[in-house]
Symmetry: C2
Subunit: 338 residues, 2 copies
């Protein structure tokens, strides 16, 4: 089969790879209907994460189940399924508390930028859609696999809800999905922090009521101006740098909540930044599985259209072009068709 | 009047000081019934906080109102009152959200290790008891002023409650009060982390079901052993050092809550410590005022006896001995009688 392999920063190739096989009786093999490139794939692409050997890429996926192991009972061959970037049993105490990305038996699915992929713990990891989706729903279901689920967790971790002012730091796909999530969760006012006109427009379309273009301390000051000097009740951090984390904490009012979902890179939070500010801080790898049934339902009912976040669709064979587009910010999120 | 002044690390004296006077129409002057020495007073006493000029000490207090300013309407002369270490208007949006220690108009009462003290924003800051308390209730009401309110906030921030396993890092007065709070809030299991036999005994008396004597990584490992390898649901951090903060985070299960109330000294939290662990982190200067009416009621009904935390009572004139006793850990908490 064909699949995407990163050989070095900036060097992404589509190659012949061995087809995945069932390794455990709890595995499933799925044929990808769509996959995509993640903002986090840009960390190694830009050299910020080290690549020690050729690395097959991808962790977002929707597709049709082709094979299941002997112990798989819920998921059936032929099901159209959505999964997330960690496999989880969905039965351990941590999963039942809603933290499937910290499952006691968590494992890695994928790679998904390919024609076929292996998913461990299939019954716990995969959620079947009510039927075969119309083609126009596939981008939205694929978004649920990661960026929507992650943005949603960020908004939930920030306790977005009715009567709340929510600010979102970061206008990448996850930040934009956090705007959508805040809107769905009933937030009264949603401040998107973005410098890019196209992303500002999409943020407004998804529910943002205000745009702040400033960053860092100036961004914090602007959010405070918009909130009677208090700061937002809820702030989603969707970048993962020291500056963005401090921007998120600074933009939150005392007693407010920071939900952070950007993969943190070289971030250290000084005690005073969280002691005297009285903010709540919660985040990490989003337990997308917690939200998948609800997200699939919202998509299936056509109440939300998170697929809008994909602004470039390419055949899998042209994946390298997709990496360039995301790296150069000419695309926010690239969908790959296997 | 007589009052305690710290001149340098280890140098505490009781001296003649000018009597406080009303400075704002929202002030009150109270005559102290009791004051005490705080664990945080040991930071400057031990040289960890700099002292640039002689510093009158004390921020915990109960007493009788002697004078009120023209704009004080709720608090009356003759009321027996309890207050906390920040003055707050209790009407601003931040106060109404329960974060009176981040009140938009917050101010500093005190100093309280004296015969008289000034309390700004008296109507918002002070809570009157239902009547003149019996003498035996005074230590408990004084505890409510800080250590009980702070331990209580730690337990609330850690979301202690029914069905939860709560661990408490730190066996000082605040840690012990967090044990009491966890018990009152309905926690199923309470693990006190303590190396001192007398404090272990008091922790058990206040509600601890388990004692862990190990610290750091060994302490974390022991808490995990006691919790099926998962960690506690709720951990209260009541020390304020890098080691204790990491111990608290490490002892918390994924999705669990760290409530930190130790005044942080040179603490920095690495991104990975909160990203991959999935813990919630919340704390800061305890908004004691939020809890005071409830705490006073529990004390007045004799449902709780937090005054047990005072294991040495001295006349104000002997305050220096009290500092020595707390510094050398021969006393957990010292009550001063003006």
């Amino acid at each position: 089969m064909r699949g995407v392999v990163m050989h070095a920063p900036g060097d992404v190739r589509v190659e012949d790879l061995p087809e995945p096989t069932l390794q455990q009786p709890t595995d499933a093999i799925i044929r990808l209907a769509a996959a995509c490139i993640c903002g986090s794939d840009l960390w190694p692409y830009r050299g910020a994460d080290t690549i020690t050997e050729p690395k097959p890429m991808g962790h977002e996926y929707v597709g049709v189940v082709e094979q299941v192991g002997a112990d798989v009972t819920e998921i059936k061959v032929g099901d159209f399924v959505v999964g997330s970037f960690f496999a989880s049993d969905n039965t351990c105490e941590i999963c039942r508390a809603g933290y499937q990305t910290s499952c006691l038996h968590r494992d890695f699915p994928g790679p998904s930028q390919a024609q076929l992929m292996r998913v461990p713990l299939a019954d716990g990891t995969l959620v079947a859609t009510p039927g075969v989706p119309d083609d126009d729903l596939i981008p939205s279901l694929l978004a649920a696999s990661d960026v929507l689920g992650t943005g949603w967790f960020g908004a939930v971790a920030a306790e977005a809800g009715p009567g709340k002012t929510v600010a979102v730091v970061g206008d990448g796909a996850v930040g934009l999905m956090a705007v959508l999530a805040a809107k769905e969760l009933g937030a009264e006012r949603i401040i998107a922090m973005s410098r890019h006109a196209d992303r500002q427009a999409l943020a407004r379309e998804l529910g943002a009521t205000d745009i702040v273009t400033e960053r860092g301390e100036a961004g914090v000051a602007r959010v405070k101006e918009l909130t009677d000097g208090l700061g937002a009740h809820s702030v989603v951090e969707a970048v993962g740098t020291q500056e963005s984390m401090l921007q998120a904490i600074g933009a939150t009012r005392p007693g407010g909540h920071v939900g952070f979902v950007g993969v943190l890179h070289d971030v250290a939070i000084a005690g005073d930044d969280i002691f005297m500010t009285h903010v709540h801080v919660h985040g990490g790898p989003a337990p997308v599985r917690r939200f998948l049934p609800d997200l699939i339902d919202r998509i299936w009912q056509r109440r939300i259209d998170p697929g809008k976040v994909f602004d470039l669709t390419l055949p899998l064979e042209q994946a390298a072009e997709g990496y360039v587009a995301m790296d150069q910010r000419t695309a926010t999120k690239v969908l790959l068709q296997p």
